[in-house]
Symmetry: C2
């Protein structure tokens, strides 16, 4: 399986998924699965800029983890009126992000990313 298959597996297993991406901390997406662009349009959200912003925050957290003594950051989520975003570290250079509609299955999304992250890490080797 490649990156895309793992991203598709996340999206297909989680109700309300809008997009799932494997992204580097340099801000560049390695691969993205967005099953239905209309979902983004319907929610009238500009996901790409939001996801970039959230990725920056996750990068800041990663950088401060050593200072904060709370251990490595595993996961971060940001829930706004129009979109739920869950990010999970894949390794020190990459993270996987899943955006859901507000009515999407948040718990299932976290679970799917927890399963996908080590698989994506293997593909990146």
């Amino acid at each position: 399986m490649g990156f895309r298959e793992h991203l598709e597996a996340v999206v297909s297993s989680v109700n309300g998924s809008v997009v799932c991406s494997l992204v580097g901390f340099d801000g560049i997406a390695v691969d993205t699965h967005q099953p239905d662009a209309r979902a983004e349009d319907a929610a009238a959200i500009d996901l790409s800029s939001a996801l970039t912003e959230y990725g920056n925050l996750l990068g800041q957290l990663k950088a401060t983890a050593q200072t904060l003594k709370t251990g490595a950051v595993g996961e971060m989520s940001v829930n706004t009126e129009k979109v739920i975003t869950i990010m999970r570290m894949v390794n020190q250079e990459y993270y996987v992000v899943l955006a859901l509609l507000p009515e999407g299955n948040y718990g299932k999304g976290r679970y799917a990313l927890r399963l996908a992250a080590p698989k994506l890490a293997k593909e990146l080797l």
Copy 2:
């Protein structure tokens, strides 16, 4: 009921709670309930600096919400090896934050903050 009672209600209803605070976006905590300081010691975490850092990130998110067109930020969480942190907006000036041990009940924590936020908002009027 005052701030403290609402914070105590959150902590007592969520397994694994370490501390619950009502904090302003100026970084100053209005009130804090920490039932057992040993829990923080046991986890060897420096929560106060971590929570300050996370609060800064939530403030950044709040500031960019207009630009991002994803709607107002309602909730943010950061999960590290040693602590789960859930933050929920109370109003434009304050948020409530709950720190849990990694084995704590994350779903119940989110639920408890969702209930507490409007009650805290009323106290702030």
